[in-house]
Each structure stands twice: as C-alpha cells, then as structure tokens.
Amino acid sequence: MPPQTDYFDLTGKKAMVVGAEFPAGAAIARAYAAAGADVALCALTADEAVMRARAVKRDIEAMGRHVAEYVMDVTLGKNVQVTTRQVAKEMGGLDIVASAPDLFMAKPIEKTSDTELARVMQVNFASQFFVVRTAAEEFRRDHRAGRILLVTSVLGGRSMLDTAAYASAHGAVHNLVRASAHELGGEGITVNAISLGWMDWMDDRIDQSNEDGKRALRFPMLRRAGHADEVGGTAVWLAAEHASSFITGQIIPVEGGLLQHQ
C-alpha cells in the first residue's frame, strides 16, 4: 500500500544547502523551506556570498522555518566535514544535503593553466565529492535514509568550445552521482543530480552581446533560459521521503529540452 502522506511535504526535515549564495542553491533552499523543512545555508566564502545567503535566510525566516547560515570552505574536505558536523548538531540531525557550487571558466585548452584547472576541478567537482563523503558519514551515523542532491551542468555530458576544464569537472560530478548512489544504495541513501541547461543568470557562459550566444537561447525546446524558481520543484521531489524513494543515481535534466537539440 502507498503511504498515507502528502508526498512532497518536507515538514520536520533538516536540510543543508551548500552554495546557498548561488542562484540554484538559493532557489533550492527556499523551496525546501516552503515545503516545510528547516534549512542550514552554507556560503562558500566569507565575503559578499554571505550577504546573498543572508537574503535567502530572511525569506526563509519569513516562512516561519528555522534557518541558520554558515561559511563552508568546500575546497577543504576537513572543513566540509567539520562544518557539516556542526550543522547536524545544531539542527538535531540531517535528512537532506544539497550542493550547488558553480565556477564557470571558458578558455582554450592550451591556454588553461595548471592553477586554473585545479581551481575549476576543486570548486565544481572536489567540493561535491567532499559533500557526498561527509553527508554519507552523517547519514550512516544516524542510520538515516538521507537524500543527497548535487547541482551540475549539461556540459558534463556534451561539448561546447573552450569549456574543457569546466565540462570535465561536471562530467566527473555525473559519475560521482552514479558511483556514490551505488555505494550508498544499500543504506537507503539516494544520490541524484539536477543538470542545468542555460539559466537566466548564466551571463558568464551565454553572452547575449554575441549573435551565437543569443542563438543558443533558442536551442532549448522551450525557447528560453530557465529561471531559478524552476529548480525548486525538482529539488523538493528528489528530497521528499516518499516521493522519490526508489530513484537514485539519476541525472535529472532541468534544461527546457536543450539536450534534445542537435
């Protein structure tokens, strides 16, 4: 028998959103809160990122949920672990961990320096690895069938000029989802990703002063860029205990049909 429940209700759930200062992370945090969850917001750096996370915090407070903000240096596995431990202690456990860091870089492969490659891999991929590793540790400690959600890019599976470093990092995230979903599946922990196409904040990769850049926005079947609030619903579905309990290792495209273009 199906459970007698509101499938998409997150009431009483404790969620942590890493990269809450990014548009996708902020949208996910707001959606979790709107669905009833308490939310810990982690900004990656102690600068204006905190101010952006604070705006999200105010919105969530207005919804009457418990919300707190933290700074998490995702380039250091130890920092991810320690901060997550602190979050879990202060919130009374963790049910949902979402992670949405994004550092886009575009330059020809032969001009990409060691340092740039390391930085792109660190922020886009290694951070997600640390988050999954730490979330698994937390969920296992409490024997919780927790939910892990990573935000990634369609570039992880397809090509575009001058994006070799960034696309490689996200390709690694795609496989992190599959590999860790397999490894954690026995404990009921699910790992999924939302793969974003062209979103309306992505001026860094879709240059609208460029004719080709403008044309790229006509490539999705919906013929437009996506909005941040269009990420939230999918994030809630993938976080809800009874709505997606048999879905794991999946990369869910939220891209308006962009991947159908050829």
Partner: protein
C-alpha cells in the same frame, strides 16, 4: 594487426547497398576480402555497384527486392546462402523516409505504417532472416543502420525518428538474445553523411553550409562509412556488441549552442 581487419572468405549482405552509405560500405567490405551480396529495389543501381566492386577486383552479386516484404527478405538470405554457402555478417541498412508531411495530430494511419514498414519492420525482417542462418552456424554479426534522428527531436521527420528509435532498441535486445549464439549485434548512427560525391559547385556549397553545423566543420562522405563497416564486421571488434557507434563529426556531442560559439570567461 592488419590481418584482424581482413574479411577474406566472409560472406556479407548489405541491404540498400546499391547507392549511398550502403554502397560505401559494400565497396570497403569487398576491398577487405568479403564476398558481398547487395540488395535494393532498383536493379540499375545494383548492377552499377556490383560492376564497380568487380572492376576493383572484389566479389559481389546482387538481389533485387523490397525489404519491406518479409518473403523477399527471406529469399535474399536464401539466395546468399545458395550462392556463397553461408552468411557471416548482415548489414540491415535499407531505409528511407516515406510517410507524409502532415502535422502530427493529423498524421494518417497509412503514413505511419509506411514509415515503420520502411525503417523498422524491414530491419526486423532482415535481422530475423540473418539470425536464423547465423544461429545454425553458431557465429555471425549483425549491423543495423540507425540515425542521429533516433533519439532526438526531428520536427518534420518525427515518424522516421520514432522508427529509428525502435531500430536502436531492436539492436540492444538482439545483442542480448544472440550473444550466447556467438552473434554480435551493433548499430551505426550516421550524423550528416552525404549519399554521394557532390554533383556540382552548388551542391558542394550546400554541403559546406550544412557542415557549419558540425564540430568537424564538414559533412561526412559516403565512403567514410566503409572503414567503420569493416571494423565492425571484422575480428578487430570481436568483443564489441550491443553498442551504437556514431559517425557524425562530433555533432551529437555538441548541440548546446551554435557549433562555432566561443564563450569567454576568466576566473
């Protein structure tokens, strides 16, 4: 190493082998040493391609028939076995648009049946007839031509794309069912590959324009299908089965933005 790519003594069928990509594959397979039987509906095209192969020192014969009729497909395989004593590799390559241009919600039954008949049922008939011989032999190879339109949006060609999607599934399930019989089954997905050499400068210019949509910055040539066909038919691919190989100049990997679009963003 080179001998792994040889097909000496192997018997190969290429349906739709009179022209276009089938002709390209038939030429290369014969050059690698295979005895090739090509089939198509148009006798003149078959005769010309057979003559070309023979002129190049190869062994080839033809079967004029309609691959949408299972009786004719069976007769083709029978004729091949009668002439060459067996069948080692079968290329189910025949297929052509068909149908009509009507909108999806107006699309008539006959047109959908027509497209499925030409592009999906014909491949089923060919694979079935080939498998019957190959299962008895305990070895063989089946190659199915699908298309980059198989899994993607194709606007006016939606019915064709649907049929090609079916062909892709057919390949996958067949590879599983026939693997235990020593039969490998793979598919080939051509992107934009020209059916022949350009006939004039205007034709060449049109192709150059089409090529701007491809990361390789050109469309494929019909004869480029040949080496791929030889590799998949030969022992060089003896552990490859159930897979789909794209020959598309990188087109299906791209498609997120105009091919020449170069974002610039420093960190």
């Amino acid at each position: 190493m080179q001998e792994q790519f040889r097909l000496d003594g192997k018997v190969v069928i290429v349906t739709g082998g009179g022209r276009g990509l089938g002709r390209g594959m038939a030429h290369a397979l014969a050059a690698a040493g295979a005895k090739v039987m090509i089939s198509a509906r148009t006798k003149e095209q078959l005769d010309r391609t057979v003559q070309e192969i023979r002129d190049a020192g190869g062994v080839a014969s033809s079967f004029a028939g309609d691959m949408t009729d299972s009786a004719q497909v069976n007769a083709m395989v029978d004729a091949c076995v009668a002439e060459y004593g067996g069948l080692d590799v079968c290329f189910a390559n025949a297929g052509i648009g068909g149908g009509t241009d009507a909108e999806f919600w107006e699309y008539p039954d006959w047109a959908f049946e027509d497209v499925l008949g030409r592009n999906l049922k014909s491949n089923f008939y060919t694979c079935r007839a080939a498998a019957k011989v190959m299962v008895e032999q305990g070895r063989g190879g089946v190659l199915v031509l699908t298309s980059s339109a198989g899994g993607h949006r194709a606007s006016k060609r939606w019915a064709y794309a649907t049929a090609k999607g079916g062909v892709l599934s057919l390949t996958k399930v067949l590879s599983g069912m026939l693997a235990g019989h020593g039969i490998r089954v793979n598919s080939i997905s051509p992107g934009i590959v020209a059916q022949n050499d350009p006939v004039d400068e205007q034709d060449a210019a049109r192709r150059a324009q089409q090529g701007t949509f491809v990361p390789a910055n050109r469309v494929g040539a019909w004869w480029e299908m040949g080496p791929l066909a030889v590799w998949l038919a030969s022992d060089a691919s003896s552990y490859v089965t159930g897979t789909d190989i794209a020959i598309d100049g990188g087109m299906m990997n791209a498609g997120l933005a105009p091919v020449s679009y170069r974002p610039q963003h420093e960190i």
